[in-house]
């Protein structure tokens, strides 16, 4: 029973991170119909930036801020310089370009920061809370994970619901032509969208890294989990991405806890195939029909 509880709690905090990552994918998909396979590599890169700042003697929070700001800039540059040229083109071209970014950034990080495993600090304790005799696998850092992901989600909801910028971004995601006719600068909205998504992705990267080892490939599996979570949620729905992330986090935690951690990525693949074959529009999408 205690094992079940611990696995569930661990799954929830992992799920919160996958939810953030899936949310980043969904933000870009809604605006440009592109899956950003470089999202993980970009997050890995900004996490290394944070590590460099922290190792130079600054506080964790300075590194945290640098990583998020770095994500903002990186996302904007990637959209403006590279992705702009393949948006609206053949879908395979966009896929290949994001994969090129993925490989390139990963190698660049290894060249600049080294390919070895490095430990990444956590701002809060990593010892589980105790209730009487019972120590559960839910740490102060887990609280921080869930809390920061919640804050980011609420901030995004507020942005899209209540601000003029959010309205323009939604408009250009809905129909580029019409938005352009109404005076929305669609290109700029796409740049902002990519930048925001990269910030959310960077947050996910930082949260996974906290208290763990980082190396240039540490986000590889997370891309898969985030993608599965996003597809599970319907790719179009931010709320779906969050729910999908939590479901994936829990499911993978059970697989890892009861069957073996080597099978986690295969379980993700199985879930993905099952979703795509049985309910390709995802669990939460309101779009009636979609060709996958």
């Amino acid at each position: 029973m205690q094992q079940f509880l611990n696995i569930t709690l661990g799954g929830l905090s992992q799920g919160a991170i996958y939810a953030a990552f899936a949310l980043a994918l969904v933000l870009i998909w809604r605006a440009t119909r592109i899956i950003n396979f470089a999202q993980g590599a970009m997050a890995m890169f900004t996490t290394y930036l944070a590590l460099a700042v922290i190792e130079s003697g600054q506080s964790y929070w300075a590194g945290f801020a640098v990583a998020l700001a770095g994500g903002l800039v990186l996302g904007a540059i990637v959209e403006r310089v590279i992705m702009r040229r393949v948006e609206g083109g053949p879908e395979l071209n966009a896929v290949i370009v994001t994969l090129g970014l993925f490989v390139g950034l990963q190698a660049l990080a290894a060249i600049i920061f080294g390919a070895a495993f490095q430990s990444f600090p956590a701002p809060f304790g990593l010892r589980g809370f105790t209730f009487g005799e019972l120590t559960v696998a839910f740490t102060p850092f887990s609280v921080f994970i869930v809390g920061s992901v919640l804050v980011v989600m609420l901030a995004l909801v507020a942005l899209f619901r209540f601000t003029d910028l959010g309205l323009r971004m939604r408009a250009s995601a809905f129909s580029q032509e019409v938005s352009r006719l109404l005076g929305v600068r669609v290109g700029r909205m796409l740049t902002i969208g990519w930048a925001l998504a990269a910030v959310v992705g960077s947050l996910a990267g930082l949260l996974i890294a906290g208290g763990n080892l980082v190396h240039p490939a540490y986000m590889d599996a997370v891309i898969v989990y985030g993608f599965v979570a996003a597809v599970l949620g319907g790719l179009d729905s931010p709320a779906g991405a969050v729910a999908g992330g939590l479901i994936i986090g829990l499911a993978l935690s059970y697989v890892s806890g009861y069957l073996g951690s080597e099978l986690v990525t295969l379980a993700a693949l199985a879930i993905l195939v099952a979703v795509l074959l049985i309910r390709p529009k995802g669990l939460f999408s309101r779009v009636a029909e979609r060709r996958v």
Binding site: V86, F227, P280
Partner: protein, 364 residues
């Protein structure tokens, strides 16, 4: 292949070429075979080993280019399919060893079977969905080797006993070139022989009814379906053909490297194969060959550049994947047809007046 690009001065020679596709392809393969023997006999053992490496990259790449270029399905899972072929070979060449041709055929068959399963799921997906699903495959499959570590050797992997050159083969080559047979050279012959056979089969397949309908499916699904083509079956078939190639490639890899281990089949392998086919030009066998040459001969070159520029060995080793990434982006942005697309455009340009635009980017 080379015989199809014919400029005016060569027009006269064209009459002496066989008129059937099979004949022309056979002739090209024979010419290539002569070239392979010459190159392998005239180069050092180190180059022989590099060429052996190139052969298995190329076998996988020609399979991938048929799938992605001709049928429009992207696969990031070919590294995983190669792993299936490599492990099958390692198991069959283990204790009670079967003859290696049997092991290679079995590797192709088992991988083709895996291709049926993957292809059946993939046939319903396209673009980013397919990329994501096959990416999951590439990341997930190496975990199987660790999970079943009793059978598959875990992280260390399985050692493979490479076949030795039979005496008649060594004698025949000694008769031809007066060179002794080395193990690396024999494996290079094995790899290139397999590659040429695969290319012959694929070239004929591409020129056949199947090549035509695959292109039709790629270019316009609705039109193809209205014309009575069964999209699902054709897509699965393309995937199976491509997977069988990947399985053969994995088999050759296992024999050349003498090891089948999960660390050999990372996501970077799958992405390298994609780089090879994109750089060469999607849908072109010659392009896939060019791209595989890039995968083998570029890394040492850039690594040397890196170390002479003051990078450490570990850093310099990462320059090659960095270049792959940059090249992937640049090729798609600047010349989506790859090297072959550029060449084709060049020839079309020189033959002024001909309005054929056979190259439309090729990356649908």
């Amino acid at each position: 292949m080379g015989t199809r690009i014919i400029t005016k001065p060569l027009g006269a020679a064209r009459r002496f070429l066989p008129s059937s596709v099979l004949g022309r392809n056979l002739l090209a393969v024979l010419a290539a075979l002569v070239a392979v023997v010459l190159v392998l006999e005239l180069t050092t053992p180190f180059r022989n080993a590099q060429l052996a490496t190139m052969s298995y990259y190329a076998i996988a790449a020609v399979g991938l280019t048929v799938l992605t270029g001709l049928n429009g399905q992207i696969s990031l899972g070919h590294g995983a399919l190669m792993a299936v072929g490599a492990y099958t070979t390692a198991l069959l060449l283990g204790e009670d060893a079967v003859p290696f041709p049997v092991a290679m055929l079995a590797a192709a068959a088992v991988t083709a079977l895996a291709g049926v399963v993957v292809g059946a799921a993939a046939a319903r997906l396209h673009g980013p969905y397919l990329a994501g699903a096959t990416l999951a495959l590439a990341v997930g499959v190496p975990g199987l080797a660790i999970y079943f570590d009793g059978l598959l050797g875990g992280e260390q992997g399985l050692p493979v006993s490479s076949p030795r050159a039979p005496d008649w083969f060594a004698d025949a080559l000694y008769f031809l070139s007066a060179n002794d047979m080395s193990s690396a050279k024999y494996l290079a012959y094995l790899g290139w022989g397999t590659l040429l056979l695969v290319m012959l089969l694929l070239a004929n397949l591409m020129a056949s009814r199947f090549g035509r309908v695959w292109r039709a499916v790629r270019d316009d699904e609705v039109a193809a379906e209205l014309a009575g083509l069964r999209l699902g079956r054709l897509r699965v078939l393309a995937f199976v053909v491509s997977a069988a190639c990947a399985g053969l490639a994995g088999s050759v890899l296992a024999m050349v490297v003498r090891l089948a281990a999960p660390s050999g089949f990372t996501i970077v392998l799958s992405l390298s194969l994609l780089t090879a086919v994109v750089v060469g030009g999607l849908g072109s066998l010659g392009g896939a060959l060019l791209g595989s040459a890039l995968l083998v001969f570029l890394p040492p070159a850039v690594t040397n550049l890196g170390t002479s520029a003051g990078l450490t060995g570990v850093q310099a080793a990462q320059l090659a994947p960095f270049v792959y990434g940059v090249v992937l982006i640049v090729v798609i942005l600047v010349a989506p047809g790859g090297v072959m697309g550029l060449l084709r455009r060049l020839f079309a340009f020189r033959r002024a007046g001909s309005t054929t635009s056979s190259n439309k980017g090729g990356t649908r």
